[in-house]
């Protein structure tokens, strides 16, 4: 697995969220791909424990449609993000799990005319598809998952 290609993929994914272009972003996921934002530190279980987000492609499809709907009042506000990605670590490839890539990400979100900062540890599980990757799972561990959260209408 080429580290440079993995980094390039992470930057490209982040760029789609920064703009944001959810239509293109959703297509980075495998058909059985998952986006997970746990609601507790070191959360092990996405099904028997609550999460902020645990979306399969069904929910991603609904979210991306909702995101651009003209009557979504929470989405009338501009939302833009700026991801900075660092501390990238690539684990050896696993036949079943794909390639696991962890990174630290600081995401500034502009929403409701305010800037907010999210600090996260992000874990991608990627599978190779042709010359590119597909995301099997993207897990976003906030530094403060159990703190009261503000409305967030975009994936980090």
């Amino acid at each position: 697995m080429n580290r440079e290609r993995i980094e390039e993929f992470l930057y490209r994914e982040a760029d789609l969220l920064d703009r944001p272009d959810l239509d293109s972003w959703v297509n980075l996921f495998a058909e059985n791909g998952i986006y997970w934002m746990p609601a507790a530190e070191d959360q092990q279980d996405p099904i028997n424990h609550i999460s902020h987000i645990y979306d399969d492609r069904v929910m991603m499809e609904i979210r991306r449609r909702n995101f651009i709907h003209p009557r979504a009042s929470s989405k009338e506000w501009e939302v833009r993000c700026s991801h900075v990605i660092g501390n990238i670590r690539v684990a050896p490839e696993d036949k079943d799990q794909g390639t696991t890539v962890t990174s630290n990400q600081h995401v500034v979100v502009w929403y409701r005319e305010e800037q907010r900062l999210y600090a996260c540890k992000v874990t991608h599980r990627l599978e190779v598809e042709g010359e590119d990757f597909k995301i099997l799972e993207k897990r976003v561990d906030l530094i403060n998952p159990s703190a009261p959260q503000q409305s967030l209408i975009i994936y980090l």
């Binding site: 028997n48 609550i50 929910m59 909702n66 009261p148 959260q149 503000q150 409305s151």
Partner: protein
């Protein structure tokens, strides 16, 4: 706290309107904290959060008074003021945990039994002959004026004058029974963690919104359309995808459907919508769960339990529950324009794991700060909070179906799109604020 001054709030509350200052005035907010939150039974937690001796759970009973719920040696769940009898430091800081032998203050090491009584003062000889009496309850972690639980749900009040919990709940108590009866073993327990959601607006907006059935088709139109457009795009055989997406469209139910669900109000500001039917009535029943229910209750009683179908039930002012979904939301004000909502989910004892998983799916999609329903609700509350700064109209109105509510012996019933839920809340608001709320209460 024991005597609430009387006063006249008819200048800001009428049967069909409230003054905008109820949402924007910091002084009124402070009065609400002592007169409403300082008198009403406030939801603290569930007994299943403290299963063993010394297990504790901390929260505030209003915007700033810290309390701790703890199971003492006798097995009783106590609700204590979280304040050291010495210099006043908060004794317990963690959200939850186990205090093995005793609570110990981190300042001078005073320690307390799980019932709050003072256990030990270090180097106590220095108090000899000073008039200090370690047996005086003021030096303990004092219990709240009253604490009681109903089917595991623990409430406490700062007021010694509040009627007992059952009387205060009135007919809305049926909803706790229904929630627990939906468990084959007749009990529920907290499971699967908590979501905390910060709201930048007055705490009363969410209470008004719970059974405001005129808002969903407007506020939640986009997510309903998004789900429907996705469902339309699916091939016929996409059964699993359909099942998952179908949790959303009921939020766009028609005015007629909501009207048919009806609203029921009770003394002390409680109310629910639904009863015979609600937007949760058409969820399919898990066959394994149904079999466990029938084995426990028999077919007829099982049907009866399912058929009591409410949407949101409010125990004014701190708790709203969803019996059919098995989650609750706990409200805690912070300031006049800020509050926190906590969403807790429950396991039905004796039911398959799929039931808890469904509850958590619901909580995640609907109640998360990153969900697709909550942020649109909060957006409109915030617009109301900002719009009410305008002096163009001093009043917020709730006339819908006024005069058509039917007063029964212990409750008021009306159409599902009636504003009777708002009228019910503000009658209680006024009586709490005027100090007359517990006059003429007959105990059950």
């Amino acid at each position: 706290m024991t005597s609430v001054p009387t006063g006249d709030f008819s200048q800001v509350v009428t049967p069909t309107r409230v003054h905008r200052s109820l949402y924007t005035d910091p002084d009124l907010f402070e009065l609400e904290m002592t007169r409403i939150w300082g008198q009403a039974w406030i939801f603290i937690g569930h007994e299943s959060q403290v299963p063993n001796t010394g297990d504790y759970f901390t929260t505030n009973i209003n915007h700033n008074i810290p309390v701790v719920m703890v199971r003492d040696k006798s097995g009783t769940v106590q609700v204590l003021h979280n304040r050291c009898g010495h210099k006043g430091a908060k004794v317990v800081e963690a959200r939850s945990g186990n205090a093995r032998g005793a609570f110990r203050c981190s300042y001078h090491g005073w320690s307390y039994r799980h019932d709050g009584s003072l256990l030990k003062v270090p180097n106590e000889a220095g108090y000899d002959g000073t008039g200090f009496d370690s047996a005086n309850p003021c030096y303990s972690m004092q219990p709240l004026a009253q604490a009681e639980s109903y089917r595991g749900f623990v409430f406490a009040t700062l007021s010694p004058n509040a009627p007992d919990l059952k009387t205060w709940m009135g007919g809305a108590r049926d909803c706790f029974d229904n929630l627990c009866d939906r468990a084959p073993e007749g009990e529920v327990e907290v499971a699967g963690g908590v979501l905390r959601y910060e709201h930048q607006c007055n705490w009363k907006f969410i209470l008004e919104n719970l059974n405001d059935t005129m808002h969903p088709m407007v506020v939640h139109e986009s997510i309903v359309k998004a789900a429907e457009s996705y469902l339309d795009s699916l091939p016929e055989d996409a059964v699993e995808q359909r099942k998952e997406a179908e949790i959303i469209p009921p939020f766009g139910a028609s005015y007629e459907k909501f009207e048919a669900s009806g609203i029921t109000g009770f003394p002390f500001g409680h109310h629910y919508d639904g009863g015979k039917t609600s937007i949760h009535a058409d969820y399919s029943v898990d066959p394994e769960y149904h079999a466990a229910m029938v084995a426990a209750y028999g077919e007829e009683r099982t049907r009866e339990i399912y058929s009591f179908n409410t949407h949101n039930v409010l125990f004014y002012p701190s708790l709203t529950i969803k019996c059919a979904v098995q989650n609750i939301r706990v409200i805690r004000p912070i300031s006049v324009d800020r509050f926190i909502v906590e969403t807790w989910s429950f396991r039905l004892k004796g039911a398959p794991d799929s039931m808890l998983q469904r509850t958590l799916l619901y909580s995640r999609l609907i109640n998360s700060a990153m969900g697709m329903v909550g942020p649109d609700d909060l957006e409109v509350y915030r617009r109301a909070q900002e719009g009410l700064a305008s002096p163009s109209n001093e009043w917020v109105e709730f006339h819908r179906q006024y005069g058509k509510d039917e007063q029964l012996e212990d409750r008021t019933v009306g159409g599902g799109t009636s504003d009777l839920d708002m009228r019910t809340q503000y009658q209680a608001w006024q009586a709490y604020m005027e100090g007359s709320i517990f006059n003429k209460v007959e105990k059950t």
